[in-house]
């Protein structure tokens, strides 16, 4: 009897898990990048993608978010409202799962598009709030264990006080384990080669295998912080 209970529960949990994951995809359409950039500065995109609301309700939600500090020009507001009211309207279907394993099509710049909200297009971050990547990633790469650590930071996030170039930060970098190995490798290669950054001599681009090797370690964001302290960064 107990076994049957458990099977029933497992099936329910499976369904719940599937819908939770499926609801996070943001459909392609004009304004999508703007939605990603604006909304993710404060909260994960799941708050948006799982909603199915009328234009009127979306309008009110945007106004509420502006009350929390979101700055939008009138044009941007119109673009975002149109996107949400069109692609996340009542009854709109979640986009079909993207086909797996097409690493050739993954562009690091494309993936990085979504890091811009915090780390900025030019990789400078925002002093005191979000650390820079420009001029900082190479020193991590050069540290012993630095490459592995960058992958871990992407997979498991980072939480707690750090210092970068003499400026203190005490924020949260969320985990991005839901990105594919190819996407994580691509975005790491992007931030390692942009804004004057380059790989230390003797190092090549990140590979999917390198990312895969760090999966399954189930580190916490605090453990990633502790690992960063072992890198001997200045």
């Amino acid at each position: 009897m107990k076994q049957r209970y458990l099977i029933g529960v497992a099936i329910l949990a499976g369904v719940a898990l599937y819908s939770a994951l499926g609801s996070n995809a943001l459909p392609e359409g004009p304004g999508r990048d703007l939605v990603l950039q604006k909304c993710q500065s404060c909260h994960e995109i799941g708050f948006v993608t799982r909603e199915r609301q009328s234009r009127e309700r979306w309008d009110a939600i945007i106004t509420e978010m502006q009350g929390y500090g979101m700055r939008l020009s009138a044009e941007e507001r119109a673009v975002i409202l149109n996107y949400l009211a069109t692609y996340l309207a009542p009854g709109a279907q979640a986009p079909a799962p993207a086909p797996q394993a097409q690493p050739a099509s993954v562009s690091g710049a494309q993936v990085y598009n979504n890091c811009i909200g915090c780390h900025q297009a030019n990789g400078t971050g925002i002093p005191g709030a979000f650390p820079p990547l420009a001029g900082h990633v190479p020193s991590i790469l050069a540290a012993r264990g630095g490459r592995e650590w960058l992958v871990q930071m992407m997979l498991y996030g980072l939480q707690g006080p750090i210092s970068v170039k003499g400026v203190s930060y005490n924020g949260i970098m969320p985990a991005y384990a839901h990105l594919s190995d190819a996407e994580i490798a691509a975005v790491l290669n992007h931030i390692s080669t942009q804004w004057g950054n380059s790989f230390p001599s003797g190092q090549g681009p990140f590979t999917e295998a390198e990312v895969r090797a760090q999966r399954g370690k189930n580190l916490t964001a605090q453990q990633v912080l502790a690992a960063r302290q072992q890198l001997g960064l200045r």
């Binding site: 700055r71 799962p97 909200g117 900025q120 709030a129 939480q159 005490n170 969320p174």
Partner: protein, 414 residues
């Protein structure tokens, strides 16, 4: 670029406050089962991986009926989380040891003061067992689906708080309230650049709800992710105004006018009418003001069936239907009725016991059931006749708060 960003995206000052998290990245664009979503234990150290993650930023996760059924007092590993803000470093069930953490008590009092957690811990402590529930719990059962976190039943737990009653605190400090004080407005810490969070309670929670600054939970120091080192707790109320990481308590003549107080965490009312929630057309808009709506304060009466679990198969013919019921604690729960025939007839369940007036009433209803498919319903009623609607959607409201429709559980008897 920084400047341009600040101008374009968000007010810079606010933005810096929003440090909370490096946003960005492809967000949570899960693309089906092949990709991983961080699990509860990966996001918050010490949480049960069986909790269902609703958001990783800010942290939102719900428990399950199975976990709720498994323990009388909900353990810190299994307790839901609805955080509006993330304080850096505090996504853990371990204590947040900060004895010099300071709470400011101010506003309409004769002598404003500050007090540290260390000093609070030396004042007389009170324990109270309460049902802590997110006012959005059950939101997914509203139709059409309101905006907000997709809670099913798991945004709830029964916990034992330990702390200093606000009454005790004011007495100990020899501080008197101004008679104009009608509300308590509370602020969470913005430590580490966290977003501000402000909520108000009516001052009556000091008298009727054992309002306290809690320093402990379930016999341990308050877990960091649940508001440690100190949070406000008012027994019998919904979670939202039980402000975590509390840094300021202000006695005021009016309630906060911040976004967390209005339009969020409110349901429509017709002022002066004796109706818990003004029914509105499902799917319609409502222009929330402090006057035409009320805050999610006192918990409404509700009951859950915890056994059998939905979709399970149990052995007949004697089937014990079990569950819990609760309300705001102002009057006792008088009955829980159970129906196995779609509400045609109801039979009173046996109330086995309760954990104080703010805790769960545990009930059991033995049923004689032949093999087949069943749907069981449970309905609680308290001493003043408050009960649950058969159709919970009657309370539809655009943010989906305070669902208390009669729960229906389908199961099979062999």
């Amino acid at each position: 670029m920084t400047k341009k960003f600040a101008e374009n995206a968000i007010d810079r000052r606010l933005f810096l406050k929003h440090t909370a998290v490096a946003g960005a990245a492809l967000g949570l664009m899960g693309r089906g089962l092949a990709q991983q979503q961080p699990t509860a234990d990966q996001l918050v150290r010490g949480k049960n991986p069986k909790l269902v993650v609703l958001s990783s930023r800010p942290i939102v996760m719900e428990s399950t009926l199975e976990l709720l059924a498994s323990e009388r007092i909900t353990s810190k590993a299994n307790l839901f989380i609805r955080n509006n803000i993330d304080l850096p470093g505090l996504n853990t069930t371990e204590p947040n040891v900060q004895p010099r953490w300071e709470i400011e008590v101010t506003g309409l009092v004769d002598k404003p003061f500050k007090i540290t957690v260390e000093e609070l811990s030396r004042l007389p402590q009170t324990e109270v067992t309460t049902v802590l529930q997110c006012s959005g719990n059950g939101r997914t059962f509203f139709n059409p689906r309101p905006s907000g976190n997709p809670w099913t039943y798991g945004g709830i737990g029964q916990v034992v708080w330990r702390g200093v009653l606000l009454k005790t605190l004011l007495e100990a400090k020899g501080v008197k309230l101004d008679p104009r004080a009608r509300f308590i407005t509370m602020n969470a810490s913005t430590q580490g650049g966290a977003l501000p969070y402000e909520k108000s309670f009516p001052i009556s929670v000091m008298e009727y709800n054992s309002a306290m600054i809690a320093l402990g939970m379930n016999g341990e120091p308050l877990p960091a992710v649940h508001g440690g080192p100190a949070r406000l707790v008012a027994a019998g109320t919904f979670g939202a105004p039980n402000v975590k990481w509390i840094s300021k308590i202000e006695f005021a003549a009016g309630e906060s006018t911040g976004s967390e107080q209005v339009p969020r965490y409110r349901v429509p009312i017709l002022p002066g009418w004796n109706l818990p929630i003004l029914p509105t057309e499902p799917g319609s808009r409502y222009n929330y003001t402090l006057e035409n709506s009320r805050s999610n304060w006192g918990a409404n009466i509700n009951s859950f069936i915890l056994s059998p679990l939905p979709g399970s198969t149990v052995k007949g013919r004697i089937v014990e239907v079990r569950g819990v019921a609760w309300n705001d604690g102002l009057v006792p729960i008088e009955s829980i009725e159970v129906s196995v025939n779609g509400g045609t007839s109801w039979r009173k369940a046996i109330i086995e016991g309760n954990d104080g007036k703010f805790g769960w009433y545990r009930w059991v209803s033995p049923q004689l059931l032949a093999p087949g498919e069943y749907e069981v319903m449970a309905r609680a009623t308290d001493a003043v006749g408050r009960t649950q609607p058969l159709n919970g959607n009657i309370w539809w409201n655009e943010r989906g708060y305070e669902w208390n429709g009669v729960m229906r559980v389908k199961f099979r008897v062999t």
